[in-house]
């Protein structure tokens, strides 16, 4: 592992443990920092040039977590991390934190939010950094030297730190919905006024679906509930993963995992209960339904889990691209086929069952 990825691992571990404390106080953060003796991350370097390079990289990494789209707690954690790294660095003169103009507006907004929310320690720390002249105010965040051949070194930062991407509700806000309702009512009234029968509009004037505003509202609500459930599921999944890893006993664990297992089994049953009839030429590869035991499910769940964070982000992105058609079942089914491992299959039909589900998945993409 290179030094840069080691650095990323350490920073993410610190931020994750900060996230778990569910607290944004600096005392909590500094406690975590002291436990890990994070300031020693600069130790062991004797040459000034490599010290400068390493420190600059560390500050750059911490800054990326400080900017949107990360969640509020992560951003506060990143601010504390920046403060810690800047203050404990060993370079003379100190390496500065580069902030580009477009990022500075976000940062100012963030500082304002901190002050209004009365998170005085975070606001104080940002103020202190500013007074210490820890920033370089630049045009762009990194030095650009037209390296077309160099691979883009954007290492994937933690998806789970990111804020829920709620573009749907940003597009159709409450105001928009209200206005739509008003316009719709007004429209209906106008239609009534010009019709012969004043109580309801003429049949010739019915050009739109009358309940479409209500439908949109319901779709948005459904989507939001689905998103919240997904986040909860993800968090629960992580929790139970940690618990099964530690091999703790207890009924809570059993009930949680069995709950999950039954939910999974239900979903899987729905998607795999329908089996396509193979054509005559493919008779020998006809898929036969097998019922999977819930026990083996649990075992299988360990491996695809690592794929889940990446998959989740892919799916959220795709969902934003898809038009709001409603029908969460359709979305869930896609979700399932990507997320779950292979169903249990017997030896003889190993190849046949593997072939068919995979092409099915590709098509739903």
């Amino acid at each position: 592992m290179s030094l840069a990825s080691g650095l990323q691992t350490d920073c993410e571990a610190l931020l994750r443990s900060f996230l778990e404390t569910d607290n944004v106080r600096f005392e909590v953060f500094s406690g975590l920092w002291r436990d890990r003796r994070f300031h020693t991350i600069f130790h062991g370097q004797t040459r000034p040039l490599e010290k400068n390079k390493f420190t600059q990289k560390a500050l750059d990494l911490a800054l990326r977590y400080f900017l949107p789209p990360y969640s509020f707690q992560i951003r506060v954690g990143a601010l504390y991390l920046l403060y810690g790294l800047y203050s404990t660095q060993l370079c003379k003169p100190k390496q500065k934190i580069r902030i580009a103009l477009k990022e500075w507006f976000e940062v100012q907004k963030f500082q304002q939010d901190l002050i209004t929310a009365q998170h005085y320690d975070a606001a104080y720390i940002f103020r202190k950094l500013r007074l210490d002249k820890a920033f370089h105010f630049t045009a762009m965040p990194r030095l650009l030297s037209f390296r077309t051949k160099k691979k883009i070194r954007e290492t994937e930062l933690k998806e789970e730190f990111k804020e829920l991407n709620n573009r749907v509700s940003r597009l159709i806000t409450n105001d928009v919905l209200e206005e739509m309702m008003n316009v719709h009512d007004h429209y209906q009234k106008m239609k009534c006024l010009i019709s012969t029968d004043k109580s309801q509009p003429d049949k010739a004037l019915s050009l739109i679906k009358d309940e479409f505003v209500i439908n949109i509202k319901n779709m948005i609500l459904e989507y939001q509930h689905w998103q919240q459930d997904k986040m909860k599921f993800f968090a629960k999944g992580k929790e139970s993963e940690e618990m099964t890893d530690k091999k703790e006993g207890g009924t809570s664990q059993d009930s949680e995992s069995s709950e999950r297992a039954s939910a999974l089994a239900k979903i899987k049953y729905k998607s795999y209960s329908a089996v396509a009839q193979a054509s005559k030429s493919r008779r020998h590869r006809q898929v036969k339904l097998e019922s999977s035991e819930s026990g083996s499910d649990q075992g299988k769940m360990e491996t695809p889990r690592c794929k889940r964070p990446r998959v989740k982000s892919q799916l959220t992105r795709k969902r934003n691209l898809l038009e709001i058609k409603g029908g969460i079942n359709a979305i869930e089914k896609e979700d399932v086929t990507h997320n779950r491992g292979m169903p249990v299959i017997t030896e003889e039909e190993n190849s046949s069952e593997e072939d068919l589900p995979r092409p099915k998945r590709r098509r739903t993409r």
Partner: protein, 397 residues
């Protein structure tokens, strides 16, 4: 060598991109992500930053006022008692270990930081294979060049840089073409102030082609003229975003860019709107450029250097604030000089072609060996050869 950076293929891309937006956007943003930005006006960037920052951010002097509780309370809008507490709660001591006797050069044994484990392994490997753990000459040289001007203040206060001044970082590539430079062309890095004229940058670029002495001197080696190309051919131009900035300070300066413009306009090549301007009339603040995009500097008629502006930022208290030292060279490529073929000690000063006395063509000699081999005691020419004075690219080391 020039494959990765093709200056004359870029105008097409520039025009295609520029035509979709009539005015250059004020806040710099990526045109090609992580590669280069859109066109923006340098001076406006400085103005935007100055608008959004406070006086204290821009100041270049040491801060005088102490950050007392009252100031904190006012700045954050919090009660005075909270402000007093904050100083203690958020101090740096909370982040350091209580053990004062820690040595920053030693890595702790029982650390859970992955970074330290990796570093420790690297150090152990160095010890095992007995690699000397001090900075080598090249690294020391690089570090010295980077940091030699940090914090310098001028003797004359009139030379002090103003607050809110912009500092541009430029990479100027060498025109040397060696096979080994195929993937990473060597460059020098220069810091330039926004208020400086283009001519100041032009004067600071030291290129070996400026020192060439033209002519064949095998018959009269002692009469090699003193004037170098720099004095003879003074024309030069910069090319930024469709405008050629020509050096017109001296009467003998010609417009080298006219050739390019005529060529561009001759057939329907799609490179329209190339303009000319005078280099001495423009400062860096007046330019509209892209950060991270290659531009051109041409002198001596055909010696072309690629220039990339890698960074623009506000000047900081820790920078060198002496205006007379700018344009400031902070990185230089160390070019190994060619040594004399005979003694292998001195840098070559002569190069010969079609030399019957030399084992290879071309062959390099230092002054002493050249005369000893090619001329007798009376100074008569021995054998047939063509001799030219040679200036090694590594002369500026």
């Amino acid at each position: 060598m020039q494959r990765a950076l093709g200056p004359l293929t870029s105008p097409c891309a520039v025009d295609m991109a520029g035509s979709s937006e009539s005015a250059s956007s004020k806040v710099p943003e990526y045109e090609v992500p992580d590669l280069h930005t859109r066109v923006f006006h340098v001076g406006s960037l400085g103005a935007l930053w100055k608008e959004t920052l406070q006086r204290a951010d821009l100041a270049l002097q040491e801060p005088v006022a102490e950050d007392g509780a009252a100031a904190v309370a006012e700045g954050l809008g919090c009660p005075l008692e909270t402000a007093a507490e904050l100083g203690a709660v958020c101090s740096i001591d909370m982040l350091k270990s209580p053990d004062k006797k820690e040595d920053p050069e030693i890595i702790l044994e029982d650390s859970d930081l992955v970074t330290l484990r990796i570093r420790k392994k690297a150090l152990e490997r160095r010890e095992e294979t007995i690699i000397v753990d001090r900075a080598c000459r090249q690294e020391t040289f690089t570090y010295e060049m980077e940091s030699h001007a940090i914090g310098k203040r001028p003797k004359d206060p009139a030379d002090l840089i103003e607050e809110g001044e912009l500092l541009l970082t430029l990479n100027i590539f060498y025109p040397v073409i060696f096979q080994k430079h195929k993937d990473h062309k060597p460059y020098q890095t220069v810091l330039v102030l926004g208020c400086q004229k283009l001519t100041e940058l032009r004067d600071s670029i030291s290129c070996v082609s400026d020192l060439q002495i033209g002519g064949e001197f095998s018959s009269h080696p002692d009469h090699a003229p003193e004037h170098i190309s720099k004095d003879l051919y003074k024309s030069a131009y910069f090319y930024f975003e469709g405008v050629f900035y020509n050096d017109k300070r001296h009467s003998e300066c010609r417009d080298l860019s006219r050739t390019v413009i005529e060529w561009a306009e001759s057939h329907d090549r799609g490179y329209e709107n190339l303009q000319t301007a005078k280099m001495e009339d423009y400062t860096f603040n007046d330019l509209s450029i892209k950060v991270g995009f290659p531009y051109l500097f041409c002198h001596q008629g055909d010696c072309e250097h690629i220039i990339i502006i890698t960074d623009i930022r506000l000047v900081h208290q820790d920078d060198c604030l002496d205006r007379t030292l700018y344009p400031l060279l902070i990185k230089k490529h160390w070019l190994w000089t060619r040594k004399c073929f005979v003694c292998k000690m001195y840098t070559a000063r002569w190069v010969t072609n079609e030399d019957s006395l030399a084992p290879e063509d071309p062959c390099f000699f230092c002054d002493v060996c050249f005369r000893m081999l090619h001329y007798d005691a009376e100074g008569n020419k021995l054998g047939e050869f063509l001799a030219y004075p040679y200036v090694d690219p590594g002369t500026f080391n």
